[in-house]
């Protein structure tokens, strides 16, 4: 698949502080790319450089094969940008906000476009209410609706769910997934590993101004290692006995009554372990299969970089 966004060797420093050291990434058309990183990792700076809001010191960003800095107005017709805080006009109503953006994007029928988006984002009932009276979730929905005025191909979302309650967050995830299903390319930044796991086709980990790992969520999780079989025993003595019995499976003590071992073949290994334990008369109280999460990847990468 062709990359619709490319970032090549982008560098940025503010005075003496290096914010982006050498960042390169590609985003395929029609996919969701999540840029993960802690506060201050440089996510928003990279996003601003990608959208032409900030000039990088080195490197190049292209959108639809057009260099952003040299073709700003042309590429701005292809994308929209939604900043970290919902950038909506509090004094205007939701309807007026949408009409304003529709007029600035020179949409044919701004009022009709605004009403269609209010309906799509379930804001029709509050259309004449001042945005200052909207809830956090409504503001975010309006913000996203404003980003969709003019039907741009690409959406840049800077931490779209930060500050939202779990219900609003899940509702926004569904909206983002719907937009992807409609063929939009979405580049989002987030601090939430769960969000990247739920939404993204590809993830990039940004740390100290560098992409330290990139790939699909599944590939990222494999970075943290294989699935683990965890066994819990009634007593420490039984646990010790089991460790000797299961020596060939390379068990590790989790605590005094718990063991953990890698699962290369889920069913066969689990079956073999339980059979061996039953034969040795030291059955576990319970067992579970633990799949690595993105948190594990993040911890591992953080440790590696440190």
């Amino acid at each position: 698949m062709e990359a619709i966004i490319t970032v090549s060797h982008v560098q940025k420093r503010f005075k003496q502080q290096v914010v982006l050291e050498d960042v390169s990434l590609n985003v395929t058309a029609g996919t969701i790319y999540a840029l993960l990183g802690a506060n201050g990792a440089g996510k928003s700076t990279l996003l601003k450089i990608m959208t032409g809001l900030l000039a990088g010191d080195q490197g190049q960003v292209t959108i639809n094969q057009l260099p952003v800095t040299e073709n700003l107005l042309q590429v701005q017709r292809l994308f929209s940008f939604s900043a970290q805080a919902a950038t909506v006009d509090d004094v205007l109503s939701g309807y007026e906000n949408l009409v304003l953006i529709a007029r600035l994007r020179h949409v044919g029928q701004p009022k009709a476009a605004a009403k269609a988006l209010l309906k799509q984002f379930d804001l029709l009932q509050a259309k004449d209410k001042r945005v200052a009276d909207y809830s956090g979730g409504m503001r975010r929905r309006l913000d996203l609706a404003m980003s969709l005025v003019g039907d741009p191909e690409i959406l840049f979302l800077d931490e779209p769910t930060t500050g939202l309650d779990p219900t609003s967050r899940e509702a926004l995830w569904r909206t983002i997934q719907t937009l992807k299903a409609q063929g939009k390319t979405i580049f989002l930044t987030t601090q939430y590993l769960e969000e990247a796991d739920q939404l993204a086709d590809n993830i990039g980990f940004l740390r100290d101004g560098q992409i330290v790992a990139t790939g699909t969520p599944a590939a990222m999780k494999r970075l943290a290692g294989t699935d683990q079989l965890e066994l819990l025993f009634a007593t420490a003595a039984l646990c010790q006995q089991a460790r000797l019995v299961l020596d060939e499976f390379k068990p590790k003590m989790v605590d005094t009554t718990g063991l953990s071992m890698p699962l290369t073949e889920m069913v066969q290994t689990t079956s073999a372990v339980l059979t061996a334990l039953a034969a040795a008369d030291c059955p576990p109280v319970t067992f579970k299969v633990v799949t690595p999460t993105l948190d594990d990847v993040f911890r591992k990468l953080t440790k590696a970089v440190s």
């Binding site: 809001l53 994308f79 940008f81 950038t87 006009d89 004094v91 304003l100 600035l104 404003m146």
Partner: protein, 250 residues
């Protein structure tokens, strides 16, 4: 570009109309100062060449400039709010001319300042301001007020963009008000102590006020007209260049 500028100015005019405190500060405060100067101090003022009871004719040009300066505080505040709230980022990410964003602010600001000035002038006429100036002189006064409003608006841009808070942004209007007090707005500069006299005589506010006052009094403007224009053009140019540079960086 013009269409976008008008669209963005329309947004800010809605802001002004929905903000009662803006109307109170920008329109009512200068009217109160006018009434106070005329009815509390006007009777006691003895100014050479100004007949008793004609103080309204002397003070009104300065009050008109105070009206414009009060409006500048709100211009700076709105620009700062758009900067800090991220609205500028949203506008800058749209496929529109970047100048139209500040242009919209300027157009809305100048329009609101001129409407307020018109209302204050009307109150002045109601309480006794009279002028036998020709239509041409009135047109020149109108153009000078527009020029002053444009200058003050663009001057507010760098302050608004450089300020880290709304309070900081709007505080610059106090400098303007101070300059108006240390000018010929309320009393002739000749009565001031020497250092203040020198400053007041040559600062731009005095030239603008004197030009308006002389035009409306059908008197010779002298060098005040050219000096006023030079000051306004120079300040606008410098503020415009600095403002655009700062805008590109925010």
């Amino acid at each position: 570009m013009l269409k976008d500028t008008f669209t963005l100015a329309g947004r800010l005019i809605k802001h002004n109309l929905r903000s009662p405190d803006t109307i109170i500060t920008v329109v009512l405060m200068p009217i109160m100062i006018l009434l106070m100067m005329v009815y509390l101090f006007g009777g006691s003022m003895k100014i050479a060449g100004v007949a008793h009871g004609d103080y309204i004719n002397y003070v009104l040009p300065g009050i008109l400039l105070i009206t414009i300066a009060s409006g500048a505080a709100y211009t700076a505040m709105r620009i700062n709010v758009d900067k800090t709230s991220g609205m500028f980022d949203r506008f800058k990410s749209l496929p529109i001319s970047k100048v139209s964003v500040l242009g919209g602010q300027a157009l809305a600001s100048v329009s609101f300042m001129l409407i307020s000035t018109g209302i204050v002038l009307l109150v002045g006429v109601l309480i006794g301001f009279r002028s036998s100036a020709s239509v041409g002189a009135w047109v020149l006064v109108g153009l000078l007020l527009i020029g002053f409003a444009i200058t003050i608006t663009w001057l507010s841009v760098p302050f608004a963009l450089a300020a880290s808070s709304v309070d900081g942004a709007s505080a610059f209007s106090y400098i303007l008000l101070l300059l108006l007090f240390v000018s010929s707005a309320f009393v002739p500069v000749t009565g001031m102590p020497k250092p203040l006299h020198l400053f007041a005589e040559h600062q731009p506010m005095t030239h603008v006020i004197m030009t308006i006052r002389q035009l409306l009094a059908v008197q010779n403007v002298g060098n005040h007209g050219w000096l006023a224009l030079l000051w306004l053009a120079g300040i606008t140019l410098v503020a415009y260049i600095i403002g655009l540079r700062l805008y590109r960086r925010v």
